[in-house]
Amino acid sequence: MPDFLLELFSEEIPARMQAKAADDLRRLVTDALVERGLTYEGAKAFATPRRLALVVGGLAARQPDRHEERKGPRVGAPEKALEGFLKAAGLASIDDAVVQSDPKGDFYVARIHKHGRATTEVIADVMPDIVRGFPWPKSMRWGSGSLRWVRPLHAIVATFAAPQEEAEVIRFEIDGIVSGDVTRGHRLHAPGEIRVKRFDDYVDSLQKAHVVLDAERRRDIIRADARTLAQAQNLELVEDAALIDEVAGLVEWPVVLMGSFEPEFLEVPDEAIRATIRANQKCFVLSDPATGRLANRFILTANLDAADGGAAVIHGNERVVRARLSDARFFWETDKKIRLEDRLEKLKSITFHEKLGTQYERVDRIARLAKELAPLVGADPQKAETAARLAKTDLVTEMVGEFPELQGLMGRYYAAAEGLDPEIAAAIEEHYKPQGPSDRVPTAPVSIAVALADKIDTLVGFWAIDEKPTGSKDPYALRRAALGVVRIVLENGLRLPILKILILALVNYIYQGYPDIDEQHFENLEFLNRIELIKNIQAAVTSEMRSPTIMQGAERFSLRKGGNALVNLIYFMADRLKVQLREQGARHDLVDAVFGSSAPSALEGEGKVRGDGGGSSGQGAAPTPEPSPQGGGESAPASGARQNDDLVLVVRRVEALAKLLATEDGENLLAGYKRAANILKAEEKKDGAGAFEGALDPALLSDPAEIALSGALDVAEPAAADAVAREDFAAATSALGALRPQVDAFFDQIMVNAPDPALRANRLKLLARLRRATRAVADFDRIAG
């Protein structure tokens, strides 16, 4: 079986685009072949800075022949119909058709034999469209042509070769470029023409011409040689996978060299040195195991075997590194001359978002929120507030201006250099964390307070102006922020009344007088009645914040009905939580079931939660700003959002439910539940929703099985509710699991729809009670199976 070799030779392809381009090429070509009936054994694509290559192995030499029959008009049909048939079937005369009879009569039938075309022809046919329509992220024209490619395309190799046979060139032309069997090697070392026949000699010829075709091999060479050079100096390479990928995309012939810089530059923090050398030079840094810090050496990757052994290349790179490091040292020294606190003023001139104010205002909000959060997470409120105030000040340092990726980290260094409290310094760095699903979550209390405050302030602000993420658009990384909140809460086991914290964050915006916040999104805080809301807001408003503006704002928000931005935000976080739990292997339906349950709210258990939390809130100085809405009378209608804003409880519930369902009792209980729920659904259609929610009449219970179930529910229902109130979800689920024998017996022995209407209604009430009892833990309707 022959192989197809393709190479598209161009000017330098951006490193970041190469891997995907190789993949696209393989997909487009093989799809086009398969679509045309050509199968293959394997295909592999490659990319270097100057070429995309593809080998498709084990291709058929021709398309299979095809036979088809086309039914035509009836014998004796009008001339016009016959003509049309001949034309469509490609026949010269009606004599070429055969006549077939079926019950409807005699018809002409064309028997068409299509010879499969040679694969080379098919390839020549499909290639121009593939090249013209290639999905580059950005493409361009050049010279006087109209073809678009990532950079000018110069030559195309296309050969077709069966083992032991002469290779054949597949000819096609794209905008004046005619395919052939000629490529070129390394720009400097082998600029001449190279004739290639098939994949094997292609790879060999390129290797001889100083081109390593496979990016994986280039990466291996860079990594291995870098390690060897490092070891020779008793140093260790600081691994950097993304940088290796990029560098492998910048060279066809990697030659790894080592340079050095003056040890004085090591005064600059390691991360800044690394950022400087990496961003500007695409070089690797080395660490010294003896000191645990960076060494004054770096690894560069050249694209040639230099005639002088690399001396000029090293010398040149060292000069640039030196110049960059002196800039970095200059930034480091001058930045330290201004205290972080004195930089706050400068944040006033930086817009955070045109509708959400300046960075200064943002910091003010975060600081207030961090202070409120501190006691809930066991942090010192004063430290949390200070850390939050300083958290963004490094944005106006020279170093972060130059290397934005060092934000937070430089703040920490500068804070430490000023002699600030280590907890504050750490929080300045860690408040950005976690940056993504695999990033570390802060665990130090002050860091947690600031990290949560930062993210929640952002989320609430963007929800308030209705700039939520849509589809793939999430320009403010709000999904990441929400996932960050979820992970910080879960991984630290924090018991937080999230909804109330969101309200506090919103109050901060109102306090700053943000009339731009779109009121309509808050028109209907349905989940809180207005008394509760006013209480929350009043409690959140510390005396210094008490002002006509804020009171009006509170009034305004509480007098409307309808909208629900904050509830929406809670659901958004719940979605992040679901994703998170699913990734940890939890069943999706169980998460949904728990979110859909009507279990009591964590909000109502407020006072207790705080007591459990054992936070350091009793420090005396700060008045407790938290409300404790204990008067049960004013509680709002039930809502999943407000009941499930304690993420830790949600997770525990999911875990308990999963455990229950893993047992035979649980499985059977679920089956019984589903049966009950289905019967209820059907009967409620007749009698109306809620028809069976009332208390049953014990006097009407006659059959032992229904008496037993009722009795079991008398035990299980309060036991489950009680366990849930104690947050002992294992106990709650096992109380429900204990119902299984009675449920089974009930369905075995009882006819629910008894002829006596009173008896029927009573039995249905019994099933409704079972349904209610399970809701204490989860909405079993949402469980699959």
Binding site: R16, M140, V150, K282, A312, G316, N317, V320, T351
Partner: protein, 307 residues
């Protein structure tokens, strides 16, 4: 071997002369700098306007470039508000443009067998000119020494044919070749001893004086007026020059767009332009540039056929 003061490794002017000679040999017209204040060599009408329309064009020139905000009162040896670019434009871009570029490096003494030259992705965009292109920054041993761009659009007009543009950062390139670390230390005239003139000798005082002007003394109200005046004049010329499908004053109109752009740069350096204003100024200049580009296409050099 005798010392040659005009060798590119010995003098700044030697570098310029070598590049001019090299590109002259490739058939370029060697132009002189445009006699107006511009932020980059691209603004020279020999690039901006000539990149538009069907007519072939090859030119090379040095362009003094002014970036008022980059002034450092002569205290930073490598950051100037006035510096030189060497600009090459070839239309249509030839197939061997990369080779021509590499040969030019060879001509100024960068031996390709010992230096590592790399083409690293860098797309170019000029919001004020309504222009963009794809290309690279060219690295020599890890240092960016040139910008290499295939123009796709200029003044809002698709380029057809496409021009290839090369921009050499002359100071940086000279520092590399002469082996000095500070721009002010560049040997300008290639002489040694008492006769030696450095880049600092020529420009340090200018950097100090212009920094004072750019940051402190440029009259803001006057500049705002200049901007409006240039804008109005440009629009007036664009209107007045448009006759029967042809245009008679595309170049004078474009001069006014350049003036407006420089007034904006100075205002920016004075720190009196807010973020939103900034965007609006850029858009206003772009509109002028677009008008000039459209007008240029109605001129003979812009490829319009005689009426």
């Amino acid at each position: 071997m005798t010392y040659d003061p005009m060798a590119p490794e010995n003098s700044f002017q030697g570098l310029i002369l070598t590049l001019q000679r090299y590109w002259a040999e490739q058939g370029c017209v060697i132009l002189q700098p445009y006699d107006m204040e511009v932020g980059a060599g691209t603004f020279h009408p020999a690039t901006t306007l000539r990149a538009l329309g069907p007519r072939p064009w090859k030119a090379a020139y040095v362009q003094p470039s002014r970036r008022p905000k980059d002034g450092r009162y002569g205290e930073n040896p490598n950051r100037f508000q006035h510096y030189y670019q060497f600009q090459v434009i070839l239309k249509p871009s030839p197939d061997n443009l990369q080779e021509l570029y590499l040969d030019s490096l060879k001509a100024i003494g960068l031996d390709p067998t010992v230096h590592d030259v790399r083409f690293v992705e860098d797309d170019w965009e000029s919001p004020t000119l309504g222009a963009w292109g794809l290309g690279w920054e060219c690295w020599c041993d890890g240092m960016e020494v040139s910008q290499f761009t295939y123009f796709q659009q200029v003044a809002g007009v698709d380029c057809n044919p496409v021009s290839g543009e090369l921009t050499y950062g002359l100071e940086r390139l000279a520092m590399y070749i002469q082996g000095v670390d500070r721009g002010f230390d560049l040997n300008f005239n290639g002489r040694q001893g008492a006769e030696k003139i450095t880049y600092g000798d020529v420009f340090r005082q200018a950097e100090q004086e212009y920094s004072r002007f750019n940051f402190e003394h440029a009259d803001v109200e006057l500049l705002k007026r200049h901007f409006r005046d240039a804008e109005q004049e440009c629009q007036a010329l664009l209107t007045a020059g448009d006759k029967d499908g042809r245009h008679e004053m595309a170049m004078p109109a474009y001069d006014q767009a350049i003036k407006a752009s420089h007034a904006f740069n100075l205002l920016d350096a004075r720190g009196v332009i807010s973020v939103t204003e900034r965007q609006s100024y850029i858009l206003r200049v772009r509109e002028l540039a677009k008008g000039c580009g459209a007008a240029w296409l109605k001129t003979e050099a812009g490829g319009a056929v005689a009426a």
